[in-house]
Symmetry: C2
Subunit: 415 residues, 2 copies
């Protein structure tokens, strides 16, 4: 009896939940629109998907998405489908082709979101998972207890290499733990990655020689496979400690390749995420996709932040961050959730309280650079906000004897 993996979908359908689930099962395993003689019982026993659970959740008089099949009522529900692992073996791209393949466009559905994924331990164990995760990143950063503080080079694109290096110098002197390229900054002719890495690592290695602590810089090496390999090798030689990639565009296969190839922590950027998350009626939830990315080996995963400038609610953000910290099938390391988007000292405490821990990377841009007393005070204010949360004291109270935090909450608008 083969082990099985299962996926859970939030669906809406004009044909009834039972029939819709049966269509999904057929389409994604042994069924065809004309029943074939070759679909024997033995074959079905080997390979057929199975409906595990159907939970009705509501009904509507009109379809949420345009739907070719008409209906008087559209039933909403949560259905769980399982497949034998032997259909695909423990292959991540083929897992996606099975659970997220040719199904979102079926005419029997007027909404479909992939919201859950369960894989057996043996499947998870076939993948390396993060080489560093939260704990390994903490060690590299030399931050023993509180949230790690990071920032993103801004403006996102257009700085010269000298300007970038100058900004990195300023941030390192100010006591930052982590800096990253913006996802728009890659390897363009105006700011080639090798030259940028050379200049930035010269600065960071110098600071490390003085302080004994090396700031982690996530260089965006997103590119073709050969270029990513070449650039990861170059980064290692320069003493860099992190490589960043755009997860959705290098693909799961590209990510797996990088995990095998490099000894650097991998900073996973989810740009394009709105395609999967923005609609309540189509898409994939982060708790699902982050499992794939973590199994493939990413160490850091962006999850947005509380009171962000995008559309995700705090609830969705926190659920995403928690999922990145949760175990997968009892195996593999947690990854490090990366909090960002319009973050200031105001959001540090609420993030800690919501997660129940400080094992995250808190990235602020303006929240550091626009602190009225400069970036050193900006970073100090964020650390003080984390100390306040650990001491279970409100920032308004804690800031009385912490001047940088006081200046931050006076300057930045409470979200």
């Amino acid at each position: 009896m083969s082990e099985r993996f299962s996926a859970t979908y939030d669906i809406e359908t004009p044909v009834g939940l039972d029939h819709a689930a049966a269509v999904l099962v057929g389409e994604q395993s042994t069924g065809t629109f004309v029943r074939l003689a070759a679909e024997t019982d033995a074959l079905r026993d080997r390979a057929a998907a199975r409906v595990e659970e159907i939970i009705p959740t509501g009904q509507s008089g009109r379809p949420s998405l345009p739907c070719r099949l008409k209906g008087k009522t559209f039933d909403r529900g949560v259905v769980t489908i399982s497949w034998p692992v032997t259909n695909i073996g423990p292959s991540l791209p083929n897992l996606l082709a099975t659970i997220a393949g040719n199904l979102f466009e079926l005419a029997e559905f007027s909404a479909m979101r992939l919201v859950g994924l369960d894989i057996p331990e043996s499947f998870a164990a076939a993948h390396p998972g993060p080489a560093f995760g939260a704990e390994g990143t903490r060690e590299l950063l030399g931050v023993s207890r509180d949230a790690m503080i990071g920032t993103i080079i801004k403006p996102s694109i257009g700085l010269t290499i000298d300007e970038t290096a100058g900004l990195v110098d300023e941030l390192a002197a100010a006591g930052i733990d982590f800096i990253k390229d913006d996802e728009l900054q890659s390897n363009g002719p105006d700011n080639p990655l090798p030259e940028r890495a050379n200049a930035v690592m010269a600065v960071l290695n110098r600071h490390a020689d003085m302080s004994g602590r090396k700031v982690m810089y996530a260089f965006n090496i997103t590119d073709g496979i050969d270029a990513m390999a070449r650039h990861a090798d170059m980064l290692e030689k320069l003493g860099a400690t992190c490589a960043m990639v755009s997860l959705n565009w290098i693909g799961v296969s590209g990510l797996q390749f990088l995990r095998e190839r490099t000894s650097l922590p991998i900073h996973g950027h989810r740009n394009g995420w709105g395609l999967f998350s923005r609609s309540p009626d189509i898409g994939i939830a982060l708790p699902v996709l982050q499992k794939i990315w973590r199994l493939a080996g990413t160490d850091h995963i962006h999850v947005n932040g509380i009171s962000n400038k995008f559309t995700e609610t705090d609830e969705v953000v926190i659920e995403a961050a928690k999922s990145v910290q949760a175990p997968i099938a009892g195996t593999r390391r947690p990854a490090l959730p990366v909090i960002s988007s319009g973050q200031t000292a105001w959001q540090v405490g609420p993030t800690i309280n919501a997660l129940g821990n400080q094992d995250f990377l808190f990235c602020a841009g303006g929240g550091i650079m626009s602190h009225p007393k400069g970036p050193t005070a900006g970073i100090a204010a964020l650390r003080q906000a984390a100390q306040a949360a650990r001491a279970r004291r409100p920032v308004s109270d804690f800031s009385r004897d912490h001047a940088e935090l006081a200046a931050a909450i006076a300057h930045f608008k409470a979200p």
Copy 2:
């Protein structure tokens, strides 16, 4: 003055089209939510994106997607944004991070679809494009003029290797041009790719020895980079003539790698496509993504079919197929559109008429296997339908002296 690439979006916004376009431009180039001193005029000249055109198209009293920003009216429009190529160089994954990155979730938008992409000739010329495309595939298949006829091994998953080889034998004897694995069939322990390829190619090489014409079989090699390379090499050694991949999961980087690595035509499967296409309010249109896939080197691209079992309208399907056949920036070969999904002899003529040519691969499953006189007649009926279209005669008329076509249109329901 740097050359520029541009992207066109169908957007909806509560903040007015002009302001929304400015937000998009800022977010995807030099802007930040707190204006930084470093955003100098020189930097903006170098790297800023630019609004090229705004065309208002409508207005609504409520947002199409949940939107954090409130408004009394939501303006709909089509906006075109351009970027300097020097921001990224001719990198496809980084092009996607720029035109399809952190923008779909911006709070200023209640709908956003990426519907157009223009790149300069120099950008296109930096990529190989399809090695075979429509013309090269035609040559390999030995089909000189009419539409190429293909099918998909069904049931999708669960057949043994012997059963698969038996079906391939039957289809080859019946005169098929092309056969493909279903995207659910990859390299699972119940049907390992190497053994399947061995068995299938033994059959097809035998038929080729007799007929002088080798049926093309697209083996699904979707997997990690190393496995894809190993399997592509294996296929070449076996005399196979096509490798299939799940484009969305191996990523653009994975596709580029494969194009460099193998001399086989690449059959691009777009499973997961509904995530990008299903909602009128979020996603990416196929004419955009197919450009990326073609530049990276895929030879065949799935575009669904007329009167399909999914939700796409015929108009969308035909627009997609035409885009795959259109030139890109005056350079690189067209790819071959793959028509499939509930296709029978009824849809051949309308497809030819809509495209104005027969340079496509027409894939039918039940439409061949369920022909009342068997698969040989099923394939003959499809070829006769193509001949009828070329002769500009309706199938009802042409079928009078073409028995297989007559049986097909009597048996299969007109869509």
